[in-house]
């Protein structure tokens, strides 16, 4: 399989479509998940229209089929079953087809081989297969909107029995496609996880010890382990639910004394590790970018690694906090409350270490740094709101209200997505050879940060007033009617928030051709990806790099510059190990 040498003679289709090069696959995942991010955003805008202006004709609604929007003389009005599909598909698409592939598919593929000094993944063809499973799975998920009965409408959590039989919702095929699509995506994620773990364990360059790995790679490594162990649980549950739906088993159906709660246990046993799958890589990216922006070593590198590892362990024993009000034994509730409270501690440790990282720095506020700081400040809010829900008596009141919706979005939008913006902007040169525009990057950041908070901060408040989540028309409840102005305000801000993302999209697209040429190391960073051209050639490293130090030696007194590449030989001859850079040919 000596393809690398002939990279430039390969036909177009092998180089860009069915490529085995991890950098190309990263770009493929990037384009795919940005597409789904846009789709998910549009779904959210439709949800918000209905919430802000319940049962008023939706602008453009006439374009959608009558099964979704009921036509009236004044315009098309959203049907409740379509609303449920929107809520379900928004959550599903954002979590499984936008955030997860962005963090794991894009940054995992792009960064792991480059940061550990490998020429590619351990299994390049498996890597290609991973993308070519994930993408059709996403299309299948979208296609379910078009089938008889509409798309799945039981929430992204698809609680049984609502999801287990079409007779409750009228959705048959849509729910089945949902299950099949996620099963296929599960295979894609597993393929990725096996690849990442093997690559990191086996293919680190000489000198790249475990504790010289950048935290982004550390986080992706632990994330891959979580994926490896959590996704099969989901797959098992999905398959059982699919059997309930199709061949008529009764795992989760009370008609045969099946257990609806079993679905919840399986789902959240997967689901809580999953939410950390969605945040750990973001934390790693943030650490890399913060140290770079602050021109300082990451504060407490070992503590950071330890925090990631302990989060990963603890994430297996907290799933019950999603089920406090589910009818689970209250004693179990107490146990899960304690474990959940404890898992807030490593998150807190990470926040304090990030603050330590910028303390006494020499802070360059470039766009990635702004987004990384945005991540930290928003993740603080999301983590703290988690503590409210962890307290079981308080959760009685706020469970399944907009308070939870606020929490999810502070960790996933304010958290993961800001880190994704940071990461894309930071490593853009390693994908496209150029830098994104700084000015527009900053404008986009500030507008997003402000609008984002205008959208999600008030959701805490309406949640506290008792506003349930996933309701089609809040004005049906008299006690929620006074909150309607807030709902309208949120909706208007959502439209603005979605609109300003166009700035990022344009910046992203135009910079591919018009951006400033980046050179090897535009951010004056230390890790190995910055020692090679942007974008790196096929095979990445001309010589196997030799690593002499950790990735965060910013502002070290031993060198004049405020950065020190990981593979730069030490200044004193005596310190140099016997290793010499060697050509990679065998």
């Amino acid at each position: 399989m000596d393809a690398h040498g002939h990279a430039h003679e390969m036909p177009w289709i092998r180089r860009y479509v069915f490529s085995t090069d991890h950098k190309i696959i990263a770009i493929q995942f990037l384009l795919m998940s940005l597409f789904f991010l846009v789709v998910g955003g549009l779904l959210a805008a439709m949800i918000r229209w209905q919430l802000g202006f319940p049962s008023e004709p939706m602008p453009g609604g006439m374009l959608l089929p009558d099964e979704m929007m009921a036509p009236t003389p004044a315009g098309a009005i959203m049907l409740p079953e379509f609303y449920n599909s929107l809520v379900t598909m928004h959550g599903t698409i954002m979590i499984f087809f936008a955030i997860m592939p962005l963090l794991v598919g894009v940054f995992g593929n792009l960064l792991i081989p480059l940061q550990i000094g490998a020429d590619d993944m351990a299994f390049p063809r498996l890597n290609m297969a991973s993308f070519w499973m994930a993408f059709p799975a996403g299309l299948l998920m979208l296609a379910s909107f078009a089938v008889e009965g509409g798309a799945a409408g039981a929430g992204w959590t698809s609680y049984a029995p609502l999801s287990a039989s079409g007779e409750y919702t009228g959705v048959y095929l849509g729910q089945q496609l949902w299950l099949i699509s996620l099963t296929i995506l599960g295979f894609a994620s597993l393929a990725g996880a096996v690849n990442y773990i093997t690559t990191i364990i086996n293919m680190r360059a000489p000198g790249m010890t475990w504790f010289r790995m950048p935290l982004a790679t550390w986080a992706l490594f632990i994330t891959a382990i979580l994926i490896l162990l959590a996704i099969p649980i989901l797959a098992g549950a999905l398959i059982m639910l699919l059997f309930d739906q199709t061949i008529g088993t009764g795992f989760f159906l009370p008609a045969s004394d099946g257990e609806p709660l079993l679905w919840q246990h399986l789902f959240w046993f997967f689901g809580h590790p999953e939410v950390y799958i969605l945040i750990l890589p973001a934390m790693g990216i943030t650490s890399d970018v913060l140290a770079n922006g602050a021109r300082k070593p990451v504060f407490g590198y070992h503590a950071m690694v330890l925090a990631i590892v302990s989060i990963a362990f603890l994430s297996w024993i907290v799933w019950g906090h999603h089920m406090f009000q589910s009818g689970m034994n209250p004693m179990l509730g107490t146990t899960f409350m304690i474990t959940t409270m404890v898992i807030a501690v490593p998150s807190a440790i990470k926040v304090f270490n990030w603050l330590g990282t910028i303390y006494k720095g020499n802070i360059h506020l470039h766009t990635p740094m702004l987004h990384a700081l945005g991540f930290v400040s928003m993740f603080i809010i999301g983590g703290l709101s988690g503590v409210f829900m962890a307290s079981t008596p308080v959760d009685v009141y706020i469970h399944d209200t907009y308070f939870i919706v606020a929490h999810i979005h502070y960790v996933l939008f304010g958290g993961s997505l800001f880190a994704i913006f940071a990461g894309i902007t930071f490593w853009y040169p390693k994908m496209f050879g150029r830098l994104m525009n700084e000015k527009w990057g900053r404008i986009h950041f500030w507008l997003t940060l402000i609008l984002y908070n205008l959208v999600f901060w008030p959701m805490h408040s309406i949640g506290i007033q008792g506003h349930m989540r996933r309701i089609y028309d809040p004005t049906q409840y008299e006690f929620l009617q006074p909150l309607q102005p807030i709902n309208q305000f949120i909706t208007v801000c959502v439209f603005a928030l979605v609109a300003v993302q166009a700035i990022y999209a344009l910046n992203f697209i135009i910079s591919i051709w018009k951006g400033k040429k980046a050179g090897n190391n535009p951010w004056h960073a230390n890790s190995l990806e910055w020692t090679v051209p942007s974008p790196p050639p096929h095979g990445n490293f001309e010589l196997v790099p030799i690593v002499y130090r950790g990735p965060y030696e910013y502002s070290a007194p031993d060198v004049e510059e405020d950065y020190w590449l990981q593979d730069a030989p030490p200044p004193r001859e005596t310190a140099a190990p016997a290793l010499e850079p060697q050509p990679v040919a065998d």
Binding site: N84, Y159, L261, A303, T334, I338, A348, I380, I464
Partner: protein, 233 residues
């Protein structure tokens, strides 16, 4: 936009609200300190050309402090939550003199049965209503929560009560209202297309009014169903 809870009218209210405000204070302090430090550091240590950042890798002492302090804080919050949780959700905590009810959830209504004076359901003095629950004030009520089809969640915001109804399970829910009045009932678990319509009303009566209500229902027990239907309009 406010972080204040709406008033509560049950014996759970003070507990839940106290815990909520305790957490609000603790997290509020952490929030203000961390965000303020973040902003302060960004301004104080902003870029100065020709200058290097201070080369520090960390501090074991700091790590120990900011591991143990949050650890103690969150465990403290967990432990003060336990008694209230047990009171609210443990079936053993239901007062012996509680009035018995059955709430049967189904797409898309609440079928509420008051067991009557004999405290036994399935007897002639049962009173069934749809979407309206009648209870006396200052008197514990003991609800057996059921579902006929899918999950629902029985939500009484002012009573600080929420419990999923699960088909195939009988779940005990109890509360004691502390002020007469009419309060909303909501469904907090997505249960299908018309989930949003699954609201209702909780009528909390003074003891005498409640007796009067019971009497009025028993008086025309034969056409009790018709009376319910009218009440729903």
């Amino acid at each position: 936009m406010s972080w204040m809870l709406p008033d509560s009218y049950s014996t759970f209210g003070p507990d839940v609200d106290f815990l909520y405000y305790a957490i609000l204070v603790v997290t509020g302090i952490v929030f203000v300190i961390t965000e303020a430090l973040l902003v302060y550091f960004v301004i104080r240590y902003r870029r100065r050309d020709g200058q290097k950042a201070t080369y520090i890798h960390g501090s074991t002492k700091a790590e120990i402090i900011w591991t143990t302090v949050p650890f103690i804080a969150v465990l403290g919050l967990a432990f003060i939550s336990i008694p209230s949780w047990n009171m609210m959700k443990n079936p053993d905590s239901v007062p012996a003199d509680a009035l018995d009810y059955i709430v049967n959830a189904k797409q898309f209504e609440w079928e509420i049965t008051y067991a009557g004076a004999d405290g036994v359901t399935g007897t002639a003095d049962d009173i069934s209503t749809i979407n309206i629950m009648h209870v006396p004030v200052n008197q514990a009520v003991n609800i057996t929560l059921r579902s006929e089809d899918v999950l629902h969640s029985f939500f009484l915001p002012e009573m600080r009560v929420k419990q999923d109804a699960v088909p195939g399970m009988d779940i005990t829910v109890w509360f004691e209202a502390t002020a007469a009045g009419a309060y909303p009932i909501g469904c907090a678990e997505l249960c299908g297309n018309l989930h949003t319509t699954m609201g209702g009303t909780l009528n909390v009566y003074e003891a005498t009014e409640f007796d009067a209500w019971v009497a009025s229902q028993s008086a025309d027990a034969d056409d009790a169903d018709d009376a319910d239907d009218q009440e729903d309009q």
